[in-house]
């Protein structure tokens, strides 16, 4: 079953006894996309990822990764995975750990040495490469785990809660790595509780609840989907006429000193608003459309009951 998608699932289902963990997951992820996987606790996200990676056998349904059926070893050689609650053989040093996983990927030793050094450098662990992992902090472990997921220059990377345990610097590192992966044409499948992370990094998101996809959205068009955008303006020298004139483009106009907020129905109003302020001699510093926050959307779609 050839598939042009980096990842495609059809009615993937998993039952544990009477308990249905994933009811019927159907997803299509484009090559080169950064895809966010969202849902409340217990929605079946981790089980879904485990099925995709062959850790858990689906009860029914089919899926392909990089065009190959689940469990295909040739496909797995091109996939990277950072498991949730990443645990490892902590009696290995960081370098040994990467070498081991590289060997399991079948990377030849000369290339592997080179790649290990590159990755240790990328995640900032070069000075600690000969320390056993048991001495590492949670953030350092997350970094070495991330390096492990990149050893094989993967075409498809699964990151399950990659920023948990990371400080802001580490989180930025993860974001940069995801961006680099996208630039290299890799597909990233990201499961994160941190909606702000998803918001910054992802092209599309799937919302899942009770083991089913209830909505897939493009992040850039989220605002359009909702039909309106909130705009924040910072400008000096505002006259009452200038303010009153804003009503023709939007509603809920509110001014607080140099700050104005209003809600517009379309981004295309922004140049007109700017022009209007400038002709009224206002000094415009910023006109910023606010994306609908993902958190709002999450609660709107998934509901406040958290899917329980």
């Amino acid at each position: 079953m050839a598939s042009q998608f980096a990842l495609e699932t059809r009615d993937l289902r998993k039952e544990f006894g009477d308990n249905v963990a994933v009811r019927g997951l159907s997803l299509q992820v484009q090559p080169g996309e950064v895809f966010g996987f969202l849902g409340p606790n217990g929605a079946g996200k981790t089980t879904s990822i485990k099925m995709l990676l062959g850790l858990v056998a689906p009860t029914s349904g089919t899926a392909t990764l990089l065009g190959a059926p689940l469990g295909d070893r040739a496909a797995r050689a091109k996939i990277g995975f950072l498991p949730e609650h990443f645990r490892f053989h902590d009696w290995l040093t960081a370098r040994e750990f990467l070498i081991l996983h590289g060997q399991l990927y079948g990377i030849l030793s000369a290339r592997l040495r080179e790649r290990t050094a590159e990755l240790l450098d990328l995640v900032g662990l070069t000075p600690f490469q000969n320390k056993q992992l048991r001495t590492f902090s949670k953030g350092m472990l997350q970094r070495v785990g991330l390096a492990q997921a990149l050893l094989n220059d993967p075409q498809l990377v699964f990151l399950d809660e990659p920023t948990s345990g990371l400080d802001p610097v580490g989180r930025r590192l993860v974001r940069d790595i995801i961006r680099d992966l996208r630039d290299l044409g890799a597909t990233v499948f990201l499961n994160s509780h941190l909606l702000s992370e998803i918001e910054i990094t992802c092209d599309r998101v799937a919302f899942i609840k009770h083991g089913e996809v209830i909505r897939v959205s493009e992040l850039n068009t989220l605002a359009a989907e909702r039909g309106e955008t909130s705009v924040t303006i910072r400008a000096g020298g505002l006259t009452p006429e200038a303010l009153a004139g804003l009503n023709q483009w939007g509603r809920d106009v509110r001014a607080d000193g140099d700050h104005i907020t209003l809600t517009v129905t379309d981004d295309s109003a922004l140049p007109a608003i700017t022009r209007h302020l400038v002709t009224h001699n206002a000094e415009v510093y910023a006109v910023t459309p606010q994306r609908l926050s993902l958190e709002e959307l999450f609660i709107q779609i998934v509901g406040t009951d958290g899917g329980l």
Partner: protein
């Protein structure tokens, strides 16, 4: 290739986590104790010292008995080592989640199981060689005595330790570490009691007791295998008298078929380990 990577990792783990070190230090302590004990037993008890044939014969029987008693302890320590190292290997890695980054690599799950098996087999071989070699060397250096067929005897003990290790691995692929440990301990108990029931049955010519012993040996051939190993390493004189030297006197010797049975048992247990681990959710 992944099999050898896993075997190497298993070996390295035993070294890094100081399991190997602890086992070897305790093994060394045993050998020292055995050496000292052997020294005093052979000098301060009534071992005949004369050079007439009867004295020589009695002496060599005593040395044979003492060597095999030492081998029984080595046998037990090697079995314990086999069960302990492998009981946690799959269950522990599944529990902690370290297995997840391994099985999602382009490797077969069977390769992971076989690699671990190979690593443990290497570890046990090394341990047994040092321990059994130590006992044989202590006896030879002190009194110049050599047991018959040491290679066959130690080989059978090795098979026995591999069997226990493999059963432990198979349990570990399905059950928790604790349940695995309990199962192995129980099986060992069945074999141990069954072995003695069989011997007493043989002594009293009670066929029911003998049958109970045989059935328990089929459930768990460890004790029977040791009796076979002891038989291999017993002098022709004692054999002619219908006994061999174990920790005490062995009067019911399992046939060579038991060794073949144990080998088949081992292969089956390994197949179960691979099958269970390959089929389960992690």
């Amino acid at each position: 290739m992944p099999t050898f990577i896993m075997a190497r990792l298993t070996f390295l783990e035993a070294v890094r986590r100081r399991i190997a070190l602890a086992a070897f230090l305790l093994g060394l302590a045993f050998l020292i104790l055995y050496g000292v004990g052997f020294y005093f037993i052979t000098r301060e008890t009534g071992v005949p010292t004369g050079s007439e044939p009867t004295a020589q014969l009695v002496r060599s029987q005593i040395f044979n008995f003492l060597t095999n008693a030492g081998m029984y302890a080595v046998n037990f320590l090697t079995l314990a080592m086999g069960a302990l190292v492998s009981a946690d290997t799959l269950a522990g890695e599944i529990g902690s989640g370290t297995i997840q980054a391994l099985v999602t690599k382009p490797v077969r799950r069977a390769e992971i199981v076989l690699g671990k098996w190979l690593g443990f087999a290497g570890l046990l071989a090394l341990y047994l060689l040092l321990m059994a070699g130590g006992v044989l060397a202590i006896v030879y250096l002190q009194v110049g005595y050599r047991v018959p067929n040491p290679v066959a005897g130690v080989g059978i003990i090795y098979l026995e330790s591999l069997l226990i290790m493999t059963i432990s691995l198979a349990c570990s692929s399905t059950f928790s570490t604790l349940a695995t440990g309990g199962t192995i301990f129980g099986l060992y108990g069945v074999a141990f009691i069954g072995g003695w029931v069989e011997q007493i049955g043989t002594l009293l010519r009670n066929q029911t007791a003998i049958n109970i012993g045989i059935v328990s040996s089929l459930i768990m051939p460890s004790e029977a295998l040791f009796r076979r190993a002891a038989f291999e390493m017993t002098s022709a004189t004692a054999r002619a008298l219908g006994m061999s030297f174990g920790p005490s006197f062995v009067i019911s010797v399992p046939s060579g078929a038991m060794v073949v049975y144990a080998a088949l048992y081992l292969i089956a247990a390994l197949a179960v380990a691979v099958r269970q681990f390959s089929g389960r959710d992690l």
